[in-house]
C-alpha cells in the first residue's frame, strides 16, 4: 500500500482577511500559517491510521510551495508519514498545482492519493478531482469514511441530505472531509522524529495555468443588528415578513 497525501498551507482560521496592492494581494503580515485543516485533520490523519494498521504501508506527503512551506511540512511529518516532497513553485492555480502533484503521483505509483475536500482560503475544491482526471483514475469527493481491504476500498460519501456507502477498486483519489478521522496533536517524539525525516525538494514542470486571480474584495459590511425584545418575538416575525420580506 502506497499513499500520497496532498497538503496545502493556509492562513489560520482566525486570521484577519485584508488585501493590499490595489486589492490584488492578501495581506500576510501577522498571519499565522497552518496546514489546511481538511488536509491535516482528515486526509493526513486517516492515512496515518491506515499505516498504523499496516506498518508496511508507505506514506508520502506532498506540497506545492516555496521554502516558507517547510515549517508546516515538518509539522505534518511530526504527525506521521515517511517522507515529504515539496514541489518548489508558487501555486498559481488549481490546474497548475494538480499537474505538479499528478506528475509526482504518476512516478510514485501510489494506490491512494488523499486530499482535503477543499482549502479554507481559495475554497476551490478542485485539485483532487483534477489529479484524478490527469491520472485517469476515479475520484471520490466529500468522503467521510474510508476502509481498505486488499485492493478495494469501502467509502462513505456525502450526498445532498444523506450519504452513500460505495465500494471501489484502487487506485483512487479521495477528497476527505469530517468523519474520516479526528484531529491529532503531534507529540514530542513525533516532533523530534520529524526533523530527521527526508523532505525532498523537486523542481516543478512547466505548466501553463488555466486561470488567473485578478483581484479580491471584502463583502459589504452589515448595517448593524436590529434588536427585538425577548418577550415580543411577534415583532421579529413581523420584521422578517414585512421589512426583510423573506417569510
Amino acid at each position: 500500500m502506497k499513499i500520497l497525501v496532498c497538503l496545502s498551507k493556509t492562513p489560520d482560521t482566525t486570521a484577519k482577511i485584508a488585501f493590499t496592492d490595489n486589492n490584488r494581494k492578501f495581506v500576510t503580515d501577522g498571519v499565522q500559517w497552518i496546514l489546511n485543516p481538511y488536509d491535516e485533520w482528515y486526509a493526513l490523519v486517516r492515512a496515518i491510521e491506515i499505516k498504523e494498521k499496516d506498518p508496511a504501508a508507505i506514506l508520502h506527503l506532498v506540497m506545492v510551495g516555496g521554502p516558507d512551506c517547510d515549517v508546516v511540512i515538518r509539522k505534518a511529518l511530526a504527525l506521521g508519514g515517511d517522507e515529504a516532497i515539496r514541489i518548489n513553485a508558487e501555486p498559481t492555480d488549481s490546474f497548475f498545482v494538480a499537474s505538479q502533484i499528478a506528475a509526482v503521483a504518476r512516478e510514485g505509483g501510489y494506490d491512494l492519493v488523499l486530499t482535503g475536500k477543499e482549502t479554507i482560503d481559495f475554497n476551490g475544491a478542485s485539485v483532487g478531482g483534477m489529479i484524478a482526471g490527469l491520472l485517469d483514475i476515479p475520484f471520490i469527493s466529500l468522503a467521510a469514511k474510508l476502509e481498505l481491504a486488499g485492493n478495494s476500498a469501502t467509502l462513505v460519501r456525502e450526498m445532498e441530505g444523506g450519504e452513500e456507502t460505495i465500494e471501489m477498486k484502487l487506485p483512487l483519489v479521495i477528497g476527505c472531509q469530517k468523519g474520516m478521522a479526528e484531529q491529532r496533536i503531534p507529540n514530542m517524539k513525533g516532533i523530534m522524529g520529524a526533523r530527521s525525516k527526508p523532505l525532498k525538494v523537486v523542481e516543478p514542470l512547466t505548466v501553463e495555468p488555466l486561470t488567473e486571480t485578478v483581484s479580491f474584495e471584502l463583502p459589504p459590511s452589515k448595517k448593524g443588528v436590529k434588536m427585538v425584545a425577548a418577550d415580543n418575538p411577534e415583532e421579529l416575525i413581523r420584521l422578517l415578513h414585512e421589512e426583510a420580506k423573506i417569510i
Binding site: 482577511i17 492555480d93 445532498e160 441530505g161 471501489m168 483581484s215 421579529l236 422578517l240 423573506i246
Partner: protein, 321 residues
C-alpha cells in the same frame, strides 16, 4: 457554439440548484450570444421539454437508468463528449456534491479553466472574469479564465430561478455507458427533509440548546417555515445532531435567504460557514455573544422562553393553529 448546463436530479426530480444553473446559463448564453443547452444523464419523472421556460433551447439526454447514480468518471466522460459535439464554449454546473465530483475532472480533461463557487454572472466585456467566494465566505475574488472553453460551478442560492415561456427540444444521445467500477452498498437518505444546501431558510441550534432532547421546538419552527435544520460544531461533535447538519468552516457552508441561529455564540469558524446568508437572526441569552455583530436581527433571551412564542407568532402568520 453554446453554453452547456449540467442538469442534476435526485429521486426523479430536477434539483433546485439545477434550475438556478439553467437560469444562470441561459442569461450567460444571451450575454455572449450563443445558444443555451442542457445535458441530463439518467431518467427523471418530470417533462423535460418544459425546462425551456428557464431559457434553454435544447436538452441532451442520455436516458440510461444506471446513470441515475453519480459515478464521476462516467459523468465526466459523457459530459465532455457532449460538450465537444455541441461546441460548448462554457459549461455551467452547480457547486454541489455532484458538481464537486465532476467539474475538476472535466476541467483537467478538456483543459478548460474552472471557477468553482461562482457568485455572479461573468464579466465578458474584456476577457472572461468570474467572481467567487474565497476565505470561506469572508471575501470574494475575481478570476480570469484564459482558456477557449470555460467551466463555472455556481454556488447554490446566489442566482434566482428565472421563469419565462418556451419549450426545449429533447435530443436523445446515444452514448456508450461503460460497466461501472463502483458498487453502491447502501444509501441512507433522510427523506422528507430539505437538503441544507438547497434550503432557503435554515434554523440552527448550538450548545445553548443544552441537549439533543431539546431540539423539538427547533424542528417545529423549521417545519413551519419549510426550513432545513442545522447545528454548530460542538453540537455535532457531542453527537446531539448528525454530522451532516454541521455548518461552519469545517462543516457545510450555506447561503440561505434566512439563517436563524439559536443558542450559537458565533465563533469565527461558525460564521465562515453562514456569513453568506442574506439575513441572519440571532437568538442568544448572552448579550455579548459575538454573533450579534454579524446579525441583521437579534433577540437577547433564553431560547427556551423565546422559541415557543416565536413558534406561536409564525403559526399566526401562516394561519395554522
Amino acid at each position: 457554439m453554446s453554453v452547456l448546463i449540467f442538469i442534476d436530479h435526485s429521486e426523479g426530480l430536477i434539483k433546485k440548484t439545477s434550475l438556478e444553473a439553467l437560469s444562470y446559463g441561459a442569461a450567460l448564453a444571451k450575454q455572449i450570444n450563443v445558444s443555451a443547452e442542457g445535458v441530463l444523464l439518467g431518467t427523471v419523472s418530470e417533462e423535460l421539454a418544459s425546462l425551456g421556460k428557464y431559457g434553454v433551447q435544447k436538452i441532451h439526454q442520455v436516458s440510461q437508468e444506471s446513470l441515475n447514480q453519480l459515478e464521476a468518471e462516467q459523468y465526466i466522460r459523457i459530459v465532455a463528449a457532449i460538450s465537444e459535439s455541441t461546441g460548448a464554449t462554457v459549461i455551467v454546473l452547480s457547486h454541489t456534491n455532484t458538481g464537486r465530483a465532476i467539474a475538476p475532472g472535466l476541467s483537467a480533461r478538456l483543459k478548460a479553466g474552472l471557477v468553482t463557487g461562482a457568485t455572479a454572472l461573468p464579466d465578458t466585456k474584456d476577457g472572461f472574469l468570474v467572481k467567487k467566494n474565497v476565505f470561506s465566505g469572508k471575501a470574494f475574488c475575481t478570476v480570469s479564465i484564459k482558456t477557449p472553453i470555460k467551466i463555472i460551478s455556481l454556488n447554490p442560492n446566489v442566482y434566482p430561478v428565472v421563469t419565462g415561456t418556451g419549450s426545449a427540444v429533447i435530443v436523445q444521445e446515444n452514448v456508450q455507458v461503460n460497466p461501472t467500477g463502483m458498487t453502491i452498498k447502501s444509501i441512507s437518505k433522510a427523506s422528507g427533509e430539505i437538503p441544507l444546501t438547497e434550503a432557503e431558510i435554515v434554523v440552527s441550534g448550538g450548545r445553548g440548546m443544552k441537549g439533543p432532547e431539546n431540539w423539538g421546538p427547533i424542528e417545529e419552527l423549521a417545519k413551519l417555515l419549510h426550513a432545513a435544520t442545522a447545528c454548530s460544531r460542538p453540537v455535532a461533535d457531542a453527537g446531539w445532531r448528525p454530522h451532516h447538519e454541521h455548518v461552519g468552516q469545517t462543516g457545510i457552508a450555506i447561503a440561505p435567504n434566512l439563517y436563524i441561529a439559536i443558542g450559537i455564540s458565533g465563533a469565527i469558524q461558525h460564521l465562515a460557514g453562514v456569513n453568506r446568508s442574506k439575513v441572519i437572526v440571532v437568538i442568544n441569552k448572552d448579550p455579548e455573544a459575538p454573533f450579534f455583530k454579524s446579525a441583521d436581527y437579534g433577540i437577547v433571551g433564553d431560547a427556551f422562553e423565546v422559541l415557543p412564542k416565536l413558534i406561536q407568532a409564525v403559526k399566526k402568520l401562516k394561519g395554522v393553529s
